[in-house]
Symmetry: C2
Subunit: 360 residues, 2 copies
């Protein structure tokens, strides 16, 4: 039996990926030199599609890394000057905070319990902070950071750099990039691609920060510092021989999504999330793990299992019916499960999921 | 017409790769969590195959990076204490030297002209150097560093760490890893795989060095420092969501090569190199770019084009007949071409290549 993955780590591949991989092999994408015109054209196509898909402003740069995890390191090296502020309410936001500390920066940690979101009236960003790290969608807890709150922070702190982790909300989240300075994601979640590629978008202000740090003697990192990445990206190239098939697939899947239209992709996501949340609400043994609606994610849906029933049983039951979901993260394993809602998960698949949930 | 790549960058895929990719897709390799048992089993299989293929001693660790380029950065962060010695005779050895300088280390540069190798009587390694970087096969010039010279350096400098760049000589080179401290390579050359994965092998001595640097307050790098990589590898895992298909393919191609037997793989490489060098010798308009036989590579064969004939014409002629080769590197573009001799390049392909060369 074919199993469909509604997991929040890597997830089901976008349904066109297999065919694009065949085509990539046919076109020798992994074989031609990464210094060739064929590679440059491919790279250029991918960046143009991603730019269109995410409505990336012209003054934004786009480079590739090995993962979004790598971007944390590169941001810590290139963009945090002295002190960074981190909104921490899950594993991924925690990890970026740890990176910033490891790189010797002062940090401000604005923390919430797992499952809770932030409210702009509840916190005060330190005035001496020069960098704000926001996890737009916490994959570990299913808590989102509302866009209007991000924009409000920007208004109140126009001089600080704001970087957005959109790992599990791309391509759903429709963020106005003119109101933040950097956004990054990896491709194995919402884009439905094999892992091994990070996408890092940043504006001129980030570059200026890196320049001034470099001028002051900061070591920005070796082969993947902002300047080396950019110098290559300007020629549609990468500093090292890259995951060319990954770059190719990113272009092709973005093109597929653009053909479907982003408004459709987004409204389908909202529709599927609505169906699933309604099913949770109606089920006597299930509840939302994220109680506050305005911070409840539409792409990673976390469910609390009630009345002594077992998340493990719930997962086995679904898997026995061909649907694989994720356990709760870390301490929440005992009481929660996570279900992803990405473009590759069709409405039909969601109908099936909900029928199964209703019958549990 | 299907074109075969005998290029020295990425090269022709190993002939089983396409089929392994299909199987990987069928087995959901890119879909299952990198924290799952299925992933751990796959990771464990790959490391066991690579260990057998390269005869890796038990006291060696094995971790994955994004590229061999990344390994330069990680070595500079984790293994060079104060001063590193670099044998520089081409673009890749130059780049590692630049990395070490960028990371603020003192360096000793032992340099030779492009196309020339090193002779152990000609140089003196500084006594205060604590790290020796050797490019076993300079992809840019086709110059190899003979293994007996590496072993001699080890005997004379038992206390220094020795790291071997084997990017374009794996899996051909049969190095005794007990006589060096680290070896690394990427997969898109001799292994015939899509790029996007580096393999880093290192022994206990490297780890001890990293420990003492860390104890002295050195920042070893964020998510890919030696300890984070190792802590994960010990559980058959990676710090970030990895290029899982790459790790899977590495195991499968290693298994394929082991089935063919490494002695056969190696003797075929020697045989094909011998044929090609003989053809060069007999051709009035061609010559070896590497004059000294003992340092002439068997895996990247660099040819000097003589008598005013054009390397570009030579390359177009071969490409017109279905064989793609590489230009000379950097300044040598005007007079040289490079041809790779990897396991995926069959004897039959080499017969065809040599017939074409004879007829030029």
């Amino acid at each position: 039996m074919k199993k469909f993955h509604l997991t929040a780590g890597p997830s089901e591949l976008y349904f066109t990926v297999e065919q694009h991989i065949q085509q990539a092999l046919k076109e020798n994408v992994a074989v031609v030199s990464h210094r060739s015109k064929a590679f440059q054209d491919m790279f250029g196509f991918t960046t143009s599609q991603v730019r269109e898909m995410l409505n990336v402003p012209d003054n934004y740069y786009m480079v590739f890394t090995g993962s979004a995890t790598e971007v944390w390191e590169r941001l810590a090296q290139n963009c945090i000057s002295k002190k960074s502020t981190h909104f921490v309410n899950g594993s991924f936001s925690t990890r970026f905070h740890q990176f910033a500390e490891a790189w010797g920066h002062q940090t401000q940690k604005i923390e919430k319990e797992l499952g809770e979101g932030f409210n702009t009236n509840d916190f005060q960003i330190d005035t001496d902070s020069d960098f704000i790290a926001i996890t737009q969608n916490e994959t570990s807890t299913g808590v989102q950071f509302p866009l209007e709150d991000i924009y409000k922070i920007r208004e109140e702190h126009p001089d600080k750099l704001i970087a957005i982790d959109a790992v599990s909300s791309i391509p759903f989240v429709d963020i106005d990039l003119t109101k933040v300075d950097s956004m990054y994601f990896s491709v194995q979640k919402g884009m439905g691609m094999p892992a091994g590629l990070g996408v890092w978008l940043f504006n001129e202000r980030c570059l200026e920060r890196a320049k001034s740090l470099k001028a002051n003697g900061r070591l920005l990192g070796g082969y993947h510092d902002m300047f080396t990445l950019l110098k290559n990206a300007e020629k549609n190239m990468t500093p090292a021989t890259p995951n060319a098939i990954g770059i190719y697939l990113l272009g092709k899947v973005s093109e597929d999504l653009l053909r479907r239209k982003m408004e459709i992709v987004r409204s389908e996501t909202v529709y599927k999330a609505g169906m699933l949340y309604a099913a949770i609400e109606e089920h006597k043994d299930l509840d939302y793990a994220v109680k506050e609606e305005r911070v409840r994610s539409k792409t990673v849906i976390v469910i609390e299992i009630l009345n002594g029933r077992s998340p493990k049983d719930f997962m086995s039951y679904l898997e026995g019916n061909g649907l694989v979901i994720s356990s709760g993260y870390g301490p929440n394993k005992a009481t929660q499960v996570r279900i992803s809602n990405f473009p590759t998960h069709s409405k039909e698949l969601y109908f099936q999921l909900i029928d199964l949930i209703n019958a549990w």
